[in-house]
Amino acid sequence: MAFNSVQYAVLLAVVFGLYRLLRRREQNLVLLVASYVFYGFWDWRFLSLLWVSTLVDFSVGKRMGSSKDPGARKRLLQVSMAVNLGILGFFKYFGFFADSARELLETLGIQADFATLHIVLPVGISFYTFQTMSYTIDVYRRELEPSDDLLSFAVFVAFFPQLVAGPIERAKRLLPQFLADRPKLTGVDLASGLLLIFIGLFKKVVIADALAPFVQETFDAAGTAGWMQLLVAVYAFSLQIYGDFSGYSSIARGSARLLGFDLMVNFNQPYLSRNITQFWRTWHISLSTWLRDYLYIPLGGSRQGAVATQRNVMVTMLLGGLWHGAAWTFVVWGGLHGLYLVVHRRFRHGSDRSESDPPRWSDVPAVLVTFHLVALSWVFFRADSFAQAWDVLTGLATARHADGIPYGGLALVVPAGLAVIFIDLVQRRTRRHEGLLQLPAFAQGLVYGAFFMAIVLFSGQEVVPFLYFQF
């Protein structure tokens, strides 16, 4: 069930309506049923994977809590890791590694004939697996008390607003919210929740979905498209993926807020970043902080000298790339960002300005350079294969003959880009994702009117699934 579907609107309305009449435990029960309906709408068979993760991690957490033996605690953690990563590895990476091994052996002249399994990738598996792993790791580290409320824990794993595409919440942040009584819904909560949903729908329907056909068409013809068309398509995809994913996160946060939950911010105007380090502090924050806390720091972080730090950055980013998809193009995307970060760490100089400070005119060159580095990396992220990525890059690098200016693409990319800049600047200046609420009332009306009409204009076309569902 996609957020931009009528079914989701009905589900949210029903849950919201019931919710106000119930007490905490019944509210959690309603949320659990709604979450399973939400997930089962896609494929009910894979609910069993959710149940396995839930029961295993709940049991592991409880046993860990009652055990004082460090060895036993470690073994329990290993059980949780094995189950979660085993599920993830089988469903997401089995085919990838089998194919890669076969290709490698064939390159060496060895004919390999592996049985090929056609494994369906359960939607959102990378998100909920990482979320539930954070629980057992935090309990193991004694940063979190294990839960003895299976219902609350099950909702924490399956909470529908963020189940299939995040934000990847930490147990120590979200789980206590299920254990506590919900705060009373105020007018401000209602307005801000609805506004987040509204902005998210705008980003998804008007920015991401409107650009998707142009991007698809151009990448499909990457070998013959002229450089101007390719360039506009790369910009378009940069906006598409941002609109798609941050739109999803915004709807998730808005939906959760209506139900009395506070989900973490997942995007903080990343395209206003002045350097690549800032970009990673503002792009898919829930994943980048997860990787930082559970991979980069355990590897040694920046505590073991420059070379080890660079290695740790590269390992983290390569695995981060692989998290996104079982394909070498994602690994290259991660590697490219790792390289950017390593180079930036080497040459950066201190600044007392935070990444959340509003940009100045003097920041424009740095923002543009950062954006273009990121946009370049998106070529690998978007391409179906290395050959396609190569076609795009060579077309750009050699200024392949263009038939003319791609007005059709530009007519979509320019307004979409301006809309993104407008929303991000308002959010950055007000330091609030609901910053539009701080505009004068008439100006708010103008903006909401424009967004509403844009959603009317672009809605009702074929529903384009959220890009991050595949991860």
């Binding site: 409107a210 007005y407 059709g408 530009l410 007519a411 979509l412 004068p440 009332a441 008439f442 100006a443 708010q444 009306g445 103008l446 903006v447 909401y448 009117g449 424009a450 509403f452 009409m453 009317v456 204009l457 672009f458 009702g460 076309q461």
Partner: protein, 348 residues
Amino acid sequence: MRRSLILGFLAVVLLLEGGARLLAPHIPGQLLWDNQFTQDKADQIGRAGQVDVVFVGSSVVNAGIDSGFVAEKSRFSSGYNAGIPSTTPSTWRAWSRDLVWPDLCPEVVVIGISIRDYNDANPGISYDLREYLPSAGRLGLYGQFSWASLEQQVGRFSTFVRIRSRLREPENVARYLVWGRTPGWPVTVLTDGGRFQGFDANVYQVPTQAGLDQLAEGAFVDFSVGGNEDRAVRAMIQDAKGLGMRVVVVRMPTLNEELSVVLPDGMADVRAFEEAVDQLGADYNIPVLRYADMDDDPQLFSDLYHLNLFGTELLSRRLGSDLERFFPEPTEHLCGIRPAEPEMANRP
């Protein structure tokens, strides 16, 4: 506070609605069928009323048969060419059941088949039915929901909603306003009888090797007959006969010798196709016409399949004479019967 907000909101909504109302008379209306060509044909059929004879097929039929020339040589004074380009018999069958039989109510149905249409292994045009089946115009015939039909309902009150599918393409809107046409919204030039005239003036050019390679890798990457497309033609014959209509199959002329170069098994594939078409005549006791002497005469063709105006005139007159010979007297048949439900057949 709230009043200012609502005023601002309404200001934008009214401004854009007003703009749409100014714009609407100057751009094409909402597209209800899967493409402009089908839309134009559906509009023509809606206006045509009952006719004596219809011609069903792909672009090969649409360009190659002119009802005016047919009428000159027969008693069939009114005819409509219902051929739609880039389609195969699976789509023709749905199109015929949906619109052609019920609205045009012909006494005689001519089904024109070329080797390209009949190839089950042609991946190049396999999308046609998938595009056609869910089109809003079609679903609307059966009273089924589609976003476009909802748009039409809301569009009674809001022009912005009614023309929004056009407004999503600002480049085409701008071009249309400036030049009165745009490549993104192609205009089809049809005769009153529904024939596409785009091939008329073409003189046959021997295809380049690259063109032949493209054909071999596209339409004829493989070749097989006797599957879905054959079944669709048979179903179409049965549908028409069930309504009391008379059916004729025409094996459309093509440049077989040049085509055989790109067919996987050369002339053997041509013969397999011809046998399959002949079998239709034997199985349903209907005339199967072929104008073999027109095959391989490049002066009659625009390309490997499509006749130019010379070819069209010749074929249509000869077809008219044959129809007159086979069906000298009119017969009773059923009219205006559309199935209760649309058939949502899926091609494997």
